[in-house]
Subunit: 535 residues, 2 copies
Amino acid sequence: MDTLALVTAIRVEAAEPSLQDNTADLDRLKAALSQTLPASIAGRSLSIPFSCMATIAAAFRNARFKGYAVLNVLPRQVDIIDFLSQKPEILPGVALDLGTTHLEATMVDLLTGTTLAHGHAVNRQIEYGADILSRIHFAVKKKGEDQDRKGLQILQQAILTTINDLVEELTGQAETTADSVRAISISGNTTMVHLLLGLSPYHICREPYIPLFNDPDPFSSREIGLSLHPQAMVWVLPSIGSYFGGDLISGILSVGLDRAEQISMFIDVGTNAEVVLGNQEWLIACAGAAGPALEGGVARMGMRADAGAVEHVTIDRASWQLNRQTIDDVPPVGICGSGLIDLVAELYLARIVDLRGKFQAEFTGQTEEQKAFVRKRLVTRDGETVFIVAFVEESGSNEPVVLSQIDLDAMMRSKAAMYAILTTLTAQVGVEFAELERIYVAGAFGEHIDPGQAITLGMLPDLPLSTYEPVGNSSLHGAERILLDEAARQRAREIGRKITYIELNVNQEFMIRFSGSRFIPHTDPKIFPSVPVFS
Amino acid sequence: MDTLALVTAIRVEAAEPSLQDNTADLDRLKAALSQTLPASIAGRSLSIPFSCMATIAAAFRNARFKGYAVLNVLPRQVDIIDFLSQKPEILPGVALDLGTTHLEATMVDLLTGTTLAHGHAVNRQIEYGADILSRIHFAVKKKGEDQDRKGLQILQQAILTTINDLVEELTGQAETTADSVRAISISGNTTMVHLLLGLSPYHICREPYIPLFNDPDPFSSREIGLSLHPQAMVWVLPSIGSYFGGDLISGILSVGLDRAEQISMFIDVGTNAEVVLGNQEWLIACAGAAGPALEGGVARMGMRADAGAVEHVTIDRASWQLNRQTIDDVPPVGICGSGLIDLVAELYLARIVDLRGKFQAEFTGQTEEQKAFVRKRLVTRDGETVFIVAFVEESGSNEPVVLSQIDLDAMMRSKAAMYAILTTLTAQVGVEFAELERIYVAGAFGEHIDPGQAITLGMLPDLPLSTYEPVGNSSLHGAERILLDEAARQRAREIGRKITYIELNVNQEFMIRFSGSRFIPHTDPKIFPSVPVFS
């Protein structure tokens, strides 16, 4: 590879010392190495960290001054951190998407770029708080600057254990050992990386929302207690602000928004909806709370896109049949984000949900078949109106799968927030949706939703469906690039510097747009020409 | 100072964060600092080591984003290692001459260059071995590569304790604390710095005499267990080889041999005699065992230049009186190097020592006064001939101070080695002694010897006495420059690269010259025109 991985192994052949050539061992190594360094790093200063000196010197001698130097490639410096007598078969590195609830990781060979293993894990911090805010509160229990650090330490330990176990799983798959892992690139939201580094997130959730750091300098794994090679380099993707983390930078990097010739958009829906607009010349971003209903965090029957989640729903308006598709084709136990979007869009088209997002049992012109369908599925249960997606006998649990008015309201807020975010962002730079070449949609949300249904709801702009491109776990893909490609590392930092971040919490226009978006598809249906309007 | 100390404090004033300016704390610090960095370091990358992030962020916030950033100035990088709300009154740094037997240190203020304290200490490693070779043997008890590291650890701990105690003494003098010390520059021989860093000196004393390192990259004090500020930078002067250490580089730096327009020479006599010849264009060096007799390590009555050491001797050849000068004017207890040189030169001029370096009681043309003097002082004691320098009643101990034939033989070997070293070195580059503009003589040897007497013995070349310049503890003076001046740090590395080192152990010419020098003044007296020759 000529893309320059974070850690690399370079062949070194030094002459054996003699009375005529009595250079010290480590100086000999540096001198020989500087002859064979690839041109891309030849100008950087070569250092040997103190803690590596003894090991390297012994290995270099034992190998009779010939072998492979293992190098940590820093922006302006190259650290020699190990010496191997043989060319290593693999040089494992881990790319990690550090999510608030889930972690996903890939192990790649830094020498070839080959994927060695892949895995995921539940963030053990969940025990101490489901979402970011509750984690921050747990971390900083006392108010003020002299906060008790115990909570922070507990959360740091929890995430370290999660990562160490996940790495263990990956090394098992790849038939290698944790201490053979030479680098880890970490892409996570700002709070998660603060907690991982054991640094206080106190100010992240307090106006004016200032992180302690955005762009940490690389450090070694032993400094925070990751069970990798002690000198494994930890490269944390830079954040932009408290609510715009390295996971987003990683996503932008992964889809190449920062290199796009035409204006494109990148949408990542997690707990927040995070949106970036731009091209190779400029990038503008904002984030807002559009996600909970979509991520399964709010609706009572809501769940992540796991086995048993209803991910697609259609209502056949000729035969009045409800068709469900469940992840892994098992009996349904809940509804994930894409299922919710489908369901509400179908209910709107079936006129069981009105333009205000309220259940309606009756409307003018309703047929008998429609009435029968509504009677069967729109019922009162424990004193509230619910729509039955799966009857108890169809369900994978001992309860029916239902959508309540409360869930529906949450969904309406989420979809309104999403559209308001998108319009606020485009308005900020005077760009029309029609000018967008592409809209990249990240994550499970991007993978599962039907953009047509999201358009019906007025959640996403009414554009040709081919504009929308699901991109999977772009945060993880970006982290993989970071491991393998120095240009990607430079771009990540440039993206951080280049992005203009719009703070929605203080944006009046956003609130006006949010109100206008709380109808299906919108208070101004003309901007959704493809969506039928019932009055 | 515009010389750029190893550690410096720079005023920073950052705007307070706001919703409009929500840069993270540490990025804010870096950005503000990059505005005020002196031009000399403005181009270097600014880093914050992981272990400093939390402390710096808290201090920066507590100081309301205004104060002083403490910076470790590395060759291509600047590490921010602390943040202070007020300008520090002093920023203490320690320059250390790390000797095999003695340590000497100066504490200087890195902000102003002012000397704050000065002290010295006995190297506690002495308990485990008097000289370098016995220390190496103690450090590496088992043979081969899988040596027991225990001896090495013991010696490292002994020297760390010595240094920590010495620093404690300095901080006491300066009324500050050890953890306020921000940097230490260390100049010592190659073995001493290996032992300090806990790195094996195994190969130093085995052909082809290869050190593990010559030029270590700077590291922080906490990494080896020095009780300074944990991030205090440790800057070890580079060595050139096993027998040519950083103490010599420091000396060259101190006297400016590497910048001299005319050819000059630098002589440092410790356990070895180490000699450098050159100017701003080239430097050539060698070292040899000329020292023991001169440093008090061989002669039974020999001692370091401490209180009670006879440092000067004259024999009045008119009145046949022996005059002694003792350090601190107390009754004599031994003879230091300069005293030995004086004594043997005077004994030669008095014809009590012949040109072969042997005592002679009688010679043709001896006067009665001479005979009486010899009878009184040249006596047989415990079966060997000794010359009495101080009778028991004049002595500070309960023994007379004497010079034996064995001491004399050792002295002759030392003086022969010294002159052979000097001639080998000059011959190597075809330079005549007469071409030397100056001969710098370092250490106690330089301070105390009378160059005229050394010339009489044939130890130093027969040049005008004004050629010789004592320069004191040049190793320490160089280390002080290293603390305060980046140009000195660059020069130290350049000197290391520039010097050609001649290995005398394999030099046949040296052995021939050594034999020729074992006469007073020389087998070829014509090269010592100022010295009388008796036949």
